[in-house]
């Protein structure tokens, strides 16, 4: 599935602000793994995410998906393998386009887009309608509404659907509930979990919320100073508590951020 080997990334090399964001990262995700990633600010979570999605090229190392070396692939070429949901609900959808148009755009993720084929046809509209109905938000009756009329939570739910409507090899969730209020965040997380379980998706979820990191997924990774300092899965992860994680955090050089404690 996803294999990251010996990845290094340093920002602002040679200046006083030099920062080694990723320091020899090795990580292999198996098929169907649902991995939650935690770590303080500046631990390298986002850089890792960006290296996988292609917005950042690593200084050294290799990123592979399904055995294909994608280290040199530009961002748009990786879309064939990766479905993404961003932290900002505004980023995941085209706000001036209809719900069904957004889904139609996502339905062709990573494929050629033909200038001779209508984007929307009866067949895919029915598919979109059924998928929206499964979210249980009543959006299937508003297929021709512009996305900008929806709330942040609704938009995030649609982005989630867009990322998974064509089964991705890897689903990446970048703190995708961080900008939502607690109630909505819970709803979106529950939806996320349902979709991942139904489709048996390999998932990488970055979160600042330790409780979420513990209650979702079968594997947990903790990062600090550009390294993976803790990797736990299966039964061991189930036994883990927030206190254990906090203890682990206090062993690191960086004190945990406020968000961590509150989580």
């Amino acid at each position: 599935m996803l294999k990251i080997s010996n990845v290094f990334k340093t920002f602002n090399i040679g200046t006083i602000n030099e920062k080694r964001a990723l320091n020899d990262i090795n990580l292999t995700l198996n098929d169907g793994d649902f991995v939650t990633v935690i770590g303080g600010n500046g631990a390298g979570k986002s850089t890792l995410q960006n290296v996988i999605s292609g917005t950042i090229t690593p200084d050294y190392g290799k990123v592979e998906i399904n055995g294909i070396d994608i280290t040199k692939f530009p961002e748009y070429k990786r879309a064939e393998f990766i479905g993404r949901v961003f932290q900002d609900p505004m980023l995941g959808t085209a706000s001036d386009m209809w719900i069904e148009e957004n889904l139609a755009l996502a339905y062709k993720r990573g494929e050629n887009r033909s200038p001779f084929k209508w984007m929307i046809n009866n067949e895919n509209v029915n598919l979109f309608k059924n998928s929206l109905a499964k979210l249980g938000l009543g959006l299937e009756d508003r297929m021709k509404s512009k996305v900008k009329l929806l709330s942040g939570g609704q938009r995030q739910a649609i982005t989630l659907l867009m990322a998974t409507i064509r089964k991705p090899d890897l689903l990446m969730l970048d703190e995708h509930t961080a900008a939502l209020d607690p109630k909505t965040a819970n709803l979106v997380l529950t939806l996320t979990n349902e979709i991942i379980e139904q489709n048996n998706l390999t998932t990488l979820m970055i979160t600042h919320n330790m409780k979420d990191a513990l209650s979702y997924g079968n594997r947990l990774i903790m990062m600090d100073q550009g390294k993976i300092i803790y990797d736990v899965s299966g039964e061991d992860k189930k036994k883990l508590t927030v206190e254990d994680l906090l203890k682990k955090f206090n062993q690191t050089k960086d004190a945990p951020s406020d968000a961590m404690i509150l989580g």
């Binding site: 887009r113 709330s151 739910a157």
Partner: protein, 331 residues
Amino acid sequence: MLGSLLGAIGQGVIWGVMVLGVFITYKILNVSDLTVDGSFATGGAVFAIAALSGVDSTLALLLAMCAGGLCGFVTGLLHTKCKIPAILAGILTQLGLYSINLRILGDKANVSVAQISTNISFISKVTGLTHSRSGMVLGIFISIVCIIILYTLLGTEFGASIRATGNNEKMIRALGVNTDNIKLFGITLSNMLIGLSGAMLVEMNKYADVGMGKGAIVYGLASIVIGEVFFRRFSNYAVKLFSSVFGCILFFIIRAIVIRLGLKANDMQLISAIIVVIALAMPIFKENMAIRNISKNFNWDKYRKDKDVDEIAEEKMDRTYITEIGGGKNA
């Protein structure tokens, strides 16, 4: 009066093709492309020289279209490959094009095509209409063809990714679209239409002028915003495209009236600048006015009478942190 009205419509539909080009970059791709002033004149110059050297006038129109497209392609490359901001990239191309256009015209500021047969003179010969009416017929025909092609394109899978690039570039890139190539294509297509429009204007005016594109971008923007005044409520792209050409026709009618009132044609530059400023500033003024009216008329006493203060405070507490998701039947 009717004569000058029809003349204005004729100018309007010919320039309207240019407005469709501006619509693609400004409204769909959300990129401000200032190549227009240069590529419009390039289209005209290439047409004039090609037609004068014996190329069939329809073929010459196509050549002008390609020349315009090439100008757009250069701007697109500067913008996407060299990462120069779109506005600056357009200005740079436009500046360079001035020299190139002069070269094309053989170092003459203007070149007459009155002696040769053009598409307009052909229409005129076949239908027996006057030169300017024939120009109007050609303009209407080309505008309609362009609107149909663009509308069809925007509804396809590829066209939708153009719209999405203008709307949310990061998202459509995450969905696998090379947004650089889309922008390159869009800016090129836009300038193809602009070059074509310039060539038709040369047919209409019977001469090519190196300065003929001056202010074209402002005319284009003015036409789009004038059209929006009438068709704001429609979100269908066929209507939006039509609205741009319609706006352009109205623009030239206004221009005809202004000239009739005794102002000079050159005053139109100032007038169109003012029209664009008003149109762009209007939403802000409207919003401020609306807010002022609401707070002026807000009846706080009535609100307080209906509920006692504790209740209001409680209501506010309840709402904190809770946004309803859904809002549909399950809400």
